[in-house]
């Protein structure tokens, strides 16, 4: 999937706080399930579900529905593209912060 065209600097799909939190948590693990993502981000079930659907539609995450001990379990992992996009997004945020921290005379 190509980079989004709706902003020259920040990726708006990822920049939304809920999705940014989700992708940041997912970037540190191989995969995590719905319950852990809800705990780690503090999102409600409805919001989390909606964000995951959007990220899956953009092919930034893969969602696997399975049964564990006969209970439904939703496992989520970043795709290679998702991993690249979140790393790139944090780099852009860091460079923006560095840019804004420069003295005005420069």
């Amino acid at each position: 999937m190509s980079a989004p065209s709706d902003g020259p600097i920040l990726d708006r799909l990822i920049h939304e706080p809920g999705r940014l939190a989700l992708m940041t948590v997912l970037s540190t693990v191989e995969s995590a399930d719905f319950v852990f993502l809800q705990r780690a981000t503090g999102l409600t079930k409805g919001n989390l579900s909606s964000h995951l659907t959007k990220l899956a539609e953009a092919e930034l995450v893969t969602i696997e529905k399975r049964f564990v001990h006969r209970k439904p379990n939703t496992n989520v992992a970043l795709t290679t593209t998702g991993r690249e996009r979140i790393a790139q997004h944090w780099e852009q945020l860091d460079s923006l912060r560095n840019f804004s921290a420069r003295p005005r005379s420069e």
């Binding site: 940041t24 995590a32 989390l48």
Partner: protein
């Protein structure tokens, strides 16, 4: 929530599943008590009872693992984190085994088992996550206990087995405090729109 907290969430979760430390600590205490063979405990039935308690501790460990998975979720750590944890556990186990061996073979004025276990535990927390104040307090206290001037006269058995009992107590105390820290970070077991459920996406 800031970036660092989000990036640390998975590591914190892995380390703060403190209730798992309770059966582990109980196993250390059982090992120490059984090996000591103090007066009323110097009977064959004690060994059988210890074996039974170990089975119960194993069952409790599995039950607690499931409790965390169902209430706080499941993660698969990155391969790098898995390698680091595995290597750390192997090195830590080797160091503790070496300390037990040292206590057994050399008359020292300290309990090497206790001191090395405390240091290994603190370093493992420090490598894996940002250690909390209670880690410094508990493992620091255990390390200090290991160098108190009381170990010279208790013999090798005392240095190792009393050391194991202290290790067990410290493990349980840390576990309870870790679980409290987990609840502060990730919320109570049950709550509005929290815990146990998985509506999927």
């Amino acid at each position: 929530m800031d970036r660092k907290s989000l990036e640390a969430a998975a590591a914190d979760y892995s380390y703060l599943k403190g209730l798992l430390s309770i059966p582990t600590g109980v196993l250390f205490i059982i090992a120490g008590v059984t090996n000591m063979r103090w007066g009323p405990l110097d009977h064959a039935w004690v060994t059988w009872a210890a074996g039974g308690l170990m089975i119960v501790a194993g069952a409790v460990y599995l039950w607690v693992t499931r409790y965390y998975a169902e209430n706080y979720g499941r993660i698969t750590p990155s391969s790098r984190a898995r390698t680091r944890a595995g290597t750390g556990a192997a090195v830590g186990a080797a160091l503790v085994a070496g300390a037990v061996n040292l206590d057994w073979r050399v008359v020292l004025p300290l309990s090497a088992t206790t001191v090395v276990f405390a240091l290994v535990m603190y370093v493992s927390y420090a490598i894996g996550m940002r250690p909390r104040p209670h880690h410094v307090a508990v493992w620091g206290t255990l390390a200090v206990a290991g160098v108190l001037p009381i170990w010279g006269d208790v013999g090798a058995t005392g240095r190792i087995n009393v050391g194991l009992m202290l290790v067990g107590v410290a493990t349980i105390v840390t576990g309870l405090l870790d679980h409290a820290a987990l609840q502060r970070a990730f919320g109570p077991t049950q709550g509005p729109d929290l815990g146990g459920g998985d509506v999927g996406a």
